[in-house]
């Protein structure tokens, strides 16, 4: 049986599997560090210092922290997976295995993205299990838990592809993480509630896309959010579609892939 003329699903599944194999081959680099970091955050901020903080959004500080930490790692892992995999493929020329195959730009982009979402889901669910073990908290709305997580992971995976294509050296991949993702996630409501910030800073938060991702995702745990849920989900989906469209366009024209 050979690839169909209109859709080569086997190729896309092969790429998803390849991305998962890659993650498991470098498990000490990509799976355990976010888990250990999260355990440290929960232990130090949630359990040790958190006992001095009164409840946030109607739950203990440790319970408030867990969904924020999951989102932090989903964002970080999704971007890192796609950006490094695409750039490494270009750097080593192994991406040519895909480019000479009867595989469309969409099959390639979604193969990378779904492989990255699978890694993010694995990390998120391990942290979710840790949250249950240490803090006895679980999502209340599983649909929102998975829906928001997948949408955010797709958004940052698509950004990873874009930067994996733009980068000229490994150092360039860190630019977005160092100067945008990490600072914006940290001030985007992972550790604090927007309602506790001074009003002038609170308004700035509305310009921070990470704030919408954390706020919507936390709703799946606490049933509450600072912004209306529809607004946060609309922002996430809108940004995801823009990033996805850009990644698809770049792959279609063969940007830095085909000469």
């Amino acid at each position: 049986m050979i690839a169909a003329d209109s859709f080569n699903g086997v190729a896309m599944l092969t790429l998803i599997k390849r991305e998962m194999v890659r993650s498991l081959k470098i498990i000490n680099q990509v799976i355990w560090p976010p888990i250990i970091t999260t355990v440290l955050y929960v232990t130090i901020f949630g359990l040790a210092l958190g006992s001095r903080i009164k409840s946030m959004q109607g739950v203990s500080y440790a319970e408030f922290l867990i969904p924020g930490l999951i989102m932090l790692q989903v964002i970080d892992s999704s971007y890192a997976e796609c950006s490094s995999s695409v750039f490494q493929g270009r750097f080593m020329n192994s991406i040519q295995e895909l480019l000479i195959a009867p595989m469309s730009a969409a099959e390639m982009v979604f193969g990378y993205i779904f492989g990255s979402v699978a890694r993010a889901l694995l990390i998120a669910n391990l942290i979710m299990a840790l949250g249950y073990f240490f803090v006895h908290t679980l999502p209340k709305d599983w649909g929102l838990y998975f829906g928001a997580m997948i949408a955010v992971s797709m958004l940052f995976s698509a950004l990873g592809i874009i930067f994996g294509l733009l980068a000229e050296k490994f150092d360039h991949l860190a630019v977005l993480t160092t100067f945008a993702i990490t600072p914006l996630v940290f001030v985007g409501g992972v550790f604090t509630s927007a309602s506790q910030l001074p009003p002038q800073i609170r308004n700035w938060e509305l310009a921070n896309p990470m704030f919408y991702t954390v706020d919507a995702f936390r709703h799946s745990y606490t049933g509450q959010s600072y912004l209306p849920l529809w607004l946060s989900l609309s922002v996430i989906c809108g940004l995801m579609l823009i990033a996805l469209g850009t990644a698809l366009r770049m792959a279609y024209v063969g940007y830095k892939l085909r000469t």
Binding site: A3, A11, T14, I26, Q96, E97, G254, T259
Partner: protein
């Protein structure tokens, strides 16, 4: 039906023209040598055939399938053994073949036996579970060929397949390529070893500065000129 039909293909990089109005036909079942000095446009032509380079003008057909309009059908028929080793470093040697077949739409259970057969035929079956970086240069070259053949292509494109391999392996690879060609596979070969083209190729094309300067059966070219291919090559490609 021609296996490859290049119709007035042009590839420009800015103001530089790497391939300049080349037209040629390689018949199905042929063993074709595409020769030229470094930087003549051989690899660019190959890249255009396999879809790694977009044409500035002209068109390419593979067994009647246009590489732009009917790209899936065209690519399915081509196996490429590139000059560089560009294997996936996260996969074992056997998985390199299985995953490559997957990108061509073939499920692992459909190609498992063929992968084992190819590894065996190329003498690397004992290394199947190893990382490719542990292979010697000659073994990597064999793996490149095995990967190009995993999806049973009708056209095999080889970019300097014997570069950097010892004489023994080169002769072994020649036998293998002859065997594949006898089985009906069309072979498009670029090489710097002109005796290789002289021995293997029924037809040759010589390219210089992006332009095709000779295209004819190897024997006719040699008989007409009364020289070895190396002398004809030097005469045609020297500026």
């Amino acid at each position: 039906m021609p296996a490859i039909e290049l119709s007035s293909i042009v590839k420009r990089y800015g103001k530089f023209t790497a391939v300049d109005d080349i037209s040629l036909r390689v018949q199905g079942g042929d063993f074709f040598g595409f020769l030229g000095p470094n930087g003549a446009g051989k690899t660019t032509t190959i890249n255009a055939i396999v879809g790694l380079a977009r044409l500035s003008a002209g068109s390419i057909q593979i067994f009647g399938h246009d590489t732009v309009r009917d790209w899936r059908a065209a690519r399915r028929l081509i196996g490429l053994a590139p000059q560089e080793y560009n294997f996936d470093r996260y996969l074992s040697i056997r998985d390199i073949l299985i995953y490559q077949a997957g990108y061509f739409g073939l499920k692992p259970k459909e190609v498992g036996e063929r992968a084992d057969m190819l590894l065996d035929r190329f003498g690397i079956a004992s290394k199947a579970k190893q990382d490719y970086m542990k292979l010697s240069g000659g073994m990597k070259r064999r793996l490149t060929l095995a990967r190009a053949l995993i999806h049973s292509p009708k056209l095999l494109i080889l970019d300097e397949p014997t570069a950097g391999v010892d004489v023994e392996l080169r002769l072994e690879l020649w036998d293998l390529l002859r065997e594949l060609n006898r089985g009906g596979m069309t072979i498009f070969l670029t090489t710097h070893y002109l005796e290789e083209a002289e021995v293997l190729c029924r037809n040759v094309g010589i390219i210089r500065a992006g332009k095709l300067v000779a295209l004819e059966p190897t024997q006719e070219l040699l008989e007409r000129e009364g020289k070895r291919l190396q002398d004809v090559f030097l005469e045609l490609t020297r500026s």
